[in-house]
């Protein structure tokens, strides 16, 4: 980069008079490469969630396309109880509340409560995954028994995979917050992590509606 040599003196040249033809010293220094504008990570998380939600939407669209072509949905010999789905939904709701507690505590710079809330959220996440495992275990049908079974495992499994990722993220964030990495003004990683977790909870509500509510609606 020979040309860079020429740049050295111009950096100190005073800005030109207004109205004079623009010449570069009045130019602006680009912001240093390591600094990201606020909320860039959060925006990235949002866009990733949009893509991920399209995966879910496509699966749900496929669910309804297959359901509409079936004579009975779910097949007559299949009964899914109400107990397990409601236990999951309640646990998910509690986890959503405790994740929000972490964010509120962060806004007040209460590091201790952030840590506690994140660990509690992670625990509730693991509990949810555990009940989902029971839902697989006690379903009484497999992936290949009928199309409803395929979607049952696919959609609940989709939520479970997100849950596992979210729990790992929450534990990392708990560690970072206990190490005082975040402040009330700067906690984009925490925001992003909690955002992803809440999105995961949103996936559950969608899956619950589709797999358990609409399986009872016969068209």
């Amino acid at each position: 980069m020979t040309a860079v040599t020429a740049a050295a003196p111009t950096d100190t040249t005073p800005a030109p008079v207004a109205g004079a033809p623009l010449a570069l010293p009045s130019g602006v220094k680009p912001s240093p490469a390591r600094v990201l504008p606020d909320r860039t990570r959060v925006l990235g998380t949002y866009l990733f969630m949009v893509a991920d939600a399209m995966v879910l939407a496509a699966m749900i669209a496929a669910y309804f396309a297959v359901k509409d072509g079936s004579s009975a949905w779910p097949p007559v010999d299949v009964g899914v109880g109400t107990y397990i789905p409601f236990v999951i939904t309640i646990t998910v709701t509690m986890a959503a509340a405790s994740a929000q507690w972490a964010i509120n505590a962060m806004r007040q710079n209460d590091q201790r409560n952030v840590g506690i809330a994140l660990l509690l959220t992670a625990f509730l996440g693991v509990a949810t995954a555990n009940v989902e495992w029971a839902a697989f275990d006690k379903a009484g049908f497999g992936v290949g028994d009928h199309a409803y079974g395929t979607f049952y495992y696919l959609l609940i499994g989709f939520h479970m995979v997100h849950l596992v990722v979210a729990v790992v993220l929450l534990l990392l964030l708990a560690g970072r917050s206990l190490a005082a990495h975040f402040t009330a003004d700067h906690h984009d990683p925490l925001k992003s992590g909690v955002l992803f977790f809440q999105y995961t909870n949103g996936i559950w509500y969608a899956v619950f509606t589709v797999v358990f509510v609409f399986s009872r609606v016969h068209g």
């Binding site: 570069l24 220094k29 990201l36 504008p37 399209m54 079936s70 290949g144 696919l154």
Partner: protein, 560 residues
């Protein structure tokens, strides 16, 4: 480097060997492994490698079809050829070519020092390489048939147990995820890291088209991922989404083509969009004036992105009742494309009136020649798509008319637009001009070969030759058009080889003419830094007061 001493002609070419100048602080976050220009270049290199693979497959198919009753390859081999040719060309060539060009150029065009997430960008590259390797390994493991849409037939059931199809499905999932991560990265970069003063309405049209293209990919590719995932579950865990239809237990056999085309029809437009954006940036520079109407081009490009979701059903035979709706979708999308073309032509026409000599020089430069070549292919392709659109879901999608349209529009125009971009931005990205002599020869072979190869396919479409025909007899009368297409295909491949040779000689071997920071008299921010730019792109940025910040700087030196 400042703009004042960067005006055309006065500037010393950057010395690629480097010499001690002002100490350059290289940020840890933008060293070579995460430098968007390096990653972009590697994406481009990978895509050209797969262009050779896809081209070789096409060469074998064109040899088989060059005359009646050929026995160059068997029927099963031919099915694998067209399957892999389609998959490789769309997902392993055109997709990474744009992922590379876009990520290499967009931060430069918006005055950013980096991509928003440089390490995610690096991850995308290596995901792509891994996924592409899986796809490329597929036909080596077992027969990969079914066409590039995986729907003729759907590879599920006892006769499709080969692991090659698994590799194909998993590889495509990984490639799609890679493209999605790039799309997120591009969108966040454009939304967050623009230079001061560079409002969204002022960003260069290539960047804008890349942004729209990224948004389309962000919404379309996940659907492909979901479809492929369910296909994999159907194949491996006895899932019943796409297979069966036995009363209440089975799946929906017409679902797969709908999911595939819902994702891939917009994807094809998303892969053409950056070409339209590149031409929109190139035409004004060589016409030595601003684009005829920037504020009409911006919504036109956005409209192409939105409307690309309206035409997918035209490719699906089973959607008979919705045909008029999708036909309307296809017809509507042609309107903004036509408006863009008129915009370019108006720009060039205005230039011709004012100064004949400068006009001639500009029109004959290689980037501009390729831009015009892309326009000819666009014209033919749009005409083809017009007919295919009216015939939504009909015969023209199953015979060579559809093949001809897709090749002219989504391969021809998109690829030639990318080549124009390569000639235009190679001096910026790599500090070297591509060879002029080789370039002219390559232009003639590439664009001429494309027209010679694809125009006869329209004839074959009228003769109703099925798109998957692997052999034909004399009485079919397909001979003459196929022979011309095969000769054209040969010339086209020569053009591809010349392009790669040109890149190897001029850039890789460094024998191209060294480029100054602003060799073309560019309008946009990337031309205000050195060629090639430093790791963090800019030492200083000009003030941005319009969509052509560099024109605002040296207005006195140019005529408008």
């Amino acid at each position: 480097m400042t703009i004042t001493d960067a005006s055309p002609g006065t500037d010393t070419p950057a010395d690629p060997s480097g010499s001690p100048g002002e100490p350059v602080e290289i940020d840890q976050g933008s060293t070579a492994g995460t430098d968007h220009k390096v990653i972009g270049t590697l994406f481009i290199a990978a895509s050209l490698l797969f262009l050779l693979v896809g081209g070789a497959l096409a060469a074998m198919m064109r040899s088989q079809l060059s005359a009646p009753d050929m026995t160059f390859v068997g029927e099963n081999t031919y099915r694998q050829l067209f399957t892999m040719h389609g998959v490789v060309m769309v997902f392993l060539f055109l997709l990474p070519l744009w992922l590379g060009l876009v990520t290499a150029l967009v931060p430069l065009q918006i005055g950013a020092t980096r991509m928003a997430f440089p390490r995610v960008h690096a991850l995308s590259l290596w995901l792509f390489v891994g996924g592409a390797a899986l796809v490329a390994a597929a036909p080596l493991v077992s027969d990969a048939v079914g066409g590039w849409t995986l729907s003729d037939p759907l590879p599920v059931g006892p006769e499709f147990t080969g692991e090659g199809v698994d590799l194909l499905i998993l590889g495509l999932i990984v490639v799609a995820v890679s493209a999605i991560t790039v799309a997120v990265n591009v969108l966040v970069t454009v939304l967050q890291l623009r230079a001061p003063g560079l409002t969204m309405a002022r960003i260069p049209l290539f960047t804008w088209s890349a942004t729209v293209s990224a948004a389309v990919m962000l919404l379309a590719l996940p659907v492909l991922v979901a479809g492929l995932l369910m296909l994999f579950i159907d194949r491996h865990y006895g899932g019943l989404v796409f297979t069966g239809f036995t009363g209440s237990r089975g799946g929906n056999p017409v679902l797969w083509p709908r999911m595939f085309w819902f994702a891939v029809y917009p994807l094809l437009w998303a892969l053409l969009l950056p070409a339209l954006g590149a031409v929109s940036d190139i035409v004004p520079v060589f016409s030595r004036r601003r684009l005829f109407s920037h504020h009409r081009a911006v919504p036109a490009i956005a409209a192409i992105g939105v409307l690309s979701f309206a035409g997918w059903g035209s490719e699906v035979a089973s959607l008979r009742r919705a045909r008029p709706l999708f036909a309307l979708g296809v017809l509507l999308i042609l309107v903004p494309v036509a408006s863009l073309i008129l915009n370019w032509l108006a720009t060039a026409a205005k230039a011709r009136k004012s100064d004949d000599k400068a006009f001639k020089e500009g029109m004959q430069s290689l980037p501009m020649l390729h831009a015009l070549g892309a326009v000819t292919l666009l014209g033919v392709g749009l005409a083809g798509e017009l007919v295919a659109g009216i015939d939504a879901g009909g015969q023209s999608h199953r015979n060579y008319w559809g093949v001809a349209t897709q090749h002219t529009l989504f391969f021809g125009a998109a690829f030639v637009g990318a080549v124009a971009a390569l000639y235009f931005w190679a001096p910026k990205l790599w500090g070297r001009h591509l060879s002029e002599k080789l370039g002219r020869l390559q232009f003639a072979a590439l664009v001429g070969g494309m027209h010679l190869a694809f125009l006869p396919m329209f004839v074959l479409g009228i003769q109703d030759m099925s798109r998957h025909t692997g052999t034909f007899t004399k009485s079919d009368n397909f001979g003459p058009a196929n022979l011309v297409a095969s000769v054209g295909g040969g010339i086209l491949i020569l053009g591809v080889l010349l392009l790669i040779l040109n890149l190897l000689v001029s850039v890789v071997a460094g024998r191209g003419e060294a480029a100054g920071s602003d060799p073309w008299g560019g309008h946009t921010l990337e031309w205000s830094t050195t060629s090639p730019p430093p790791a963090d792109n800019f030492r200083v940025l000009p003030e941005v007061r319009s969509e052509t910040p560099l024109l605002d700087l040296d207005q006195s030196e140019r005529t408008f």
